[in-house]
C-alpha cells in the first residue's frame, strides 16, 4: 500500500527515498540502479524494497 518505512531484512530506513526514486526512475526514464546508487541505497536487501514496491492507496481509496 504505502512504501515500507524500513528494509525488512536489515532495518535501514528506505521510505525517505521512495518519492525521489519514484519520480526519477518510475515516472522519469533514469536507470533505477543508478538512482539507487545516488540515493545511497547500497545493499541488495534495501534496493529490492524500492524496486519491487507499488503504491496502492489510489487503487483502494474509492472503496473506503
Amino acid at each position: 500500500m504505502m512504501v515500507p518505512v524500513r528494509c525488512f531484512t536489515c532495518g535501514s530506513v528506505v521510505g525517505e527515498h521512495w518519492e525521489e526514486f519514484k519520480q526519477r526512475a518510475r515516472e522519469g526514464d533514469e536507470d533505477p540502479a543508478e538512482v539507487l546508487d545516488e540515493l545511497g541505497v547500497e545493499r541488495a536487501c534495501c534496493r529490492r524494497m524500492l524496486v519491487s514496491h507499488k503504491d496502492l492507496v489510489d487503487i483502494v481509496s474509492p472503496y473506503q
Binding site: 500500500m1 504505502m2 512504501v3 518505512v5 524500513r6 536489515c10 532495518g11 535501514s12 530506513v13 521510505g15 525517505e16 521512495w18 518519492e19 545493499r43 503504491d55 492507496v57 489510489d58 483502494v60 481509496s61 473506503q64
Partner: protein
C-alpha cells in the same frame, strides 16, 4: 592484563563508519556487536491515541509505521521514559514523518521525508503518540544499529609469479585487506602494510595482482567493524554506549560478588 587496543577508522560518517580494531579478542568483539544491536536503547513510538483516522489504512498499520520511524535519542532519557508526539494532517496531502510535532525539541524524527500515509480529499489523520525508550532485544524498532557486523582483517602476501598458462580463476575476498605486497618497506617494518577495501578492486584479488600467486590469511585478533545507525544517534554514541553497557554489567557483577 595487556589491553592495548588500536583503533583505525577506514570510513567515518555521522551515520555509518568502518573501523579496524587490533588486539581485540573475538569474545569481546562479539560482545560489542551484540550490545550495539540489542542493548543500546532508543526512543520509538510505542503507544498511539488516535483522534481521527479516516485514511485507507487501519489504526494499527499507522501505529506500526510510526514505530519504525527513527527518533533522535538524547542521552538523558531513562528506560521507559516517554515523549509525546502529535500529528495532524488533512487531505489531500501526504503525512510525512517531518509533520510529527514533538514535546521535546531534542527528540525529533531522524528523517523528515518518510511517507506515513497518503491522504485523499476529505481524509484526515490526527493522533498523539507516546515514544518510549526501549531496548533492541525487546523490539526491533528500538535497535539503534542497522546491519552491524565485523569481519576479520585479512592479510595478503604475494607469492611467486604465476605460470603463463595457469588457471585464471578469480580470487574473491570481501572486507578489508592488509596488503603486505603493496610496499617492501612496510613489509620490512613488519607493520602489516596498506589497508585496502576489497571493493576498490571489485573484490577480486586477480584484478589487483593479475600475474602473482597470493596467499590470504586472517590476522589474529584484528577485526573490521562495519557500523551503521538508523539516525537515532551517531556511530560514536552507539559504539560508546554499547561498551558502556558491557562495563555497567561488569560493574554490577563485581559489586554482587563482593557482597
Amino acid at each position: 592484563m595487556s589491553d592495548q587496543y588500536d583503533v583505525t577508522f577506514i570510513e567515518q560518517d555521522e551515520r555509518s563508519a568502518k573501523f579496524l580494531v587490533r588486539g581485540i579478542t573475538p569474545a569481546f568483539a562479539n560482545g560489542i556487536r551484540r550490545a550495539m544491536i540489542a542493548d543500546v536503547p532508543t526512543l520509538s513510538v510505542d503507544t498511539v491515541r488516535v483522534i481521527e483516522n479516516s485514511s485507507v489504512m487501519f489504526d494499527e498499520q499507522i501505529a506500526l509505521r510510526l514505530g519504525l520511524i527513527p527518533l533522535t535519542t538524547p542521552d538523558d532519557y531513562r528506560p521507559e521514559e516517554t515523549v509525546t508526539l502529535a500529528i495532524d494532517v488533512e487531505g489531500p496531502a501526504t503525512a510525512y514523518s517531518g509533520d510529527l510535532v514533538s514535546s521535546d525539541a531534542k527528540v525529533q524524527p531522524a528523517e523528515e521525508h518518510v511517507p506515513i500515509i497518503d491522504l485523499k480529499e476529505g481524509q484526515r489523520l490526527e493522533l498523539e503518540a507516546d515514544a518510549e525508550l526501549g531496548y533492541g532485544k525487546d523490539h526491533a524498532k528500538h535497535q539503534g544499529g542497522v546491519a552491524v557486523g565485523y569481519r576479520h582483517l585479512q592479510r595478503v602476501e604475494l607469492g611467486d609469479e604465476r605460470g603463463e598458462f595457469a588457471e585464471d580463476d578469480p580470487e574473491i575476498i570481501r572486507g578489508v585487506i592488509e596488503d603486505a605486497g603493496a610496499s617492501e618497506t612496510s613489509r620490512a617494518a613488519g607493520d602489516g602494510g596498506e589497508l585496502v577495501e576489497t571493493a576498490s578492486f571489485d573484490n577480486d584479488l586477480g584484478n589487483r595482482y593479475p600475474d602473482r600467486n597470493v596467499s590470504v590469511e586472517d590476522v589474529p585478533n584484528a577485526f573490521v567493524f562495519d557500523v551503521e545507525t538508523d539516525g537515532s544517534m551517531s556511530v560514536d554514541d552507539l559504539v560508546l554506549s554499547a561498551v558502556e553497557s558491557l562495563r555497567t554489567r561488569a560493574d554490577e557483577l563485581e559489586d554482587a560478588v563482593q557482597l
